[in-house]
Symmetry: C2
Subunit: 210 residues, 2 copies
């Protein structure tokens, strides 16, 4: 019985992790798992897992645990990941190329369908992974045409805001921003920033301080 209390942001993040682990367990033929065992693998508290799940319903069997395959399917559905998503890459540098060819994304239903760059020398060429590179001006046309839902920005910091503006004007609703700069967007558009340097800073702090 799905309740519609507001779901903590932290819960959403963990569900995505549970899903990955369940997928793995399923592949290895594990059929049933308890919250305690799953917690151990995911590195979280067992009550946490049970509580996370109650936001969306009851999925377990008392005295037994959870059916791996079933729970995997249910979480998938809850997260809206039971369908493929088309991605557009904006900014074809080293990082962009690496992301576009990262197998793990397509394994999870995320497919790059086009790449965009301002550099005329790159436009018209094709990435090793088979994705064509278009000029940024083509966003407006290709976003609807190829049904691109999410833009991945891997431009230099100085070009990131323009890239975001162009993507939004073309109809993009979600952006994953790898450029080391905060970009501002109108209401209704969702941006996630992935700041790798921040991760280093954090690690360094914990390693070398006090």
């Amino acid at each position: 019985m799905a309740k519609t209390l507001k779901v903590p942001e932290a819960t959403i993040k963990r569900l995505s992790i549970y899903m990955r682990v369940l997928k793995d367990l399923e592949k290895n033929g594990i059929e049933v798992i308890s919250s305690a065992e799953l917690a151990e693998i995911c590195g979280v508290n067992a009550a946490q897992i049970r509580k996370d799940l109650t936001y969306f319903g009851e999925f377990g069997i008392r005295g037994v645990g959870y059916y791996v395959k079933e729970l995997h399917f249910d979480i998938r559905k809850v997260l809206g990941l039971n369908q493929k998503r088309n991605l557009g890459l904006i900014g074809v540098g080293n990082l962009g190329k690496a992301l576009a060819s990262y197998r793990n994304f397509s394994d999870h239903g995320y497919n790059f369908v086009a790449a965009f760059d301002a550099d005329k020398a790159k436009v018209g060429t094709t990435l090793p992974c088979g994705i064509d590179i278009y000029h940024i001006d083509k966003l407006k046309q290709l976003v609807p045409e190829l049904n691109i839902e999410i833009a991945i920005i891997t431009t230099p910091a100085s070009a990131a805001q323009d890239a975001a503006d162009a993507a939004i004007k073309a109809g993009i609703k979600g952006i994953l921003n790898f450029a080391p700069v905060q970009i501002s967007v109108p209401d209704g558009i969702r941006v996630k920033k992935v700041d790798l340097t921040t991760e280093f800073d954090n690690l360094a702090y914990h390693l070398f301080t006090s």
Copy 2:
């Protein structure tokens, strides 16, 4: 007057962001900034910034704000980022190569000094960015020799745990793990996992669910 109350994890993460913004402001010749202005740029609450800073001392001037250059320096010091760090890359695939050549890291004092891989065909060659590739067996020797402090794991999931084990045996204390798998480590070793697929999942959830 630095107090030694425990510092929230969330505060550490934000300090790293403030620092990046302050660095930028300094470059643009801004000399003074109020918590309200800085908050606006960072997308957080002004009181949050002031509170974050109180964990480490008093850095502002009432009625005025903060001296950009000074605050930048102080946060840098607090985070232990006032010195360079040597990184070792383990797993020379597309992602690894992209990270090693990412200018933004070296701009912030993080330098890749060696790369390691199990593939004999890669060993002995040099990356475009000038970093030599060694066999994983060389970790034990080169980690102390090159003073490598942090390992960046970009191997396939199946090789990540072995890579971590080897790095730890060689004396590494901090690991940034890009492989899509949870790795387990002994006490005293710090691991940060960067899970890019999770970021997509999160974005997709917010975009396409209720």
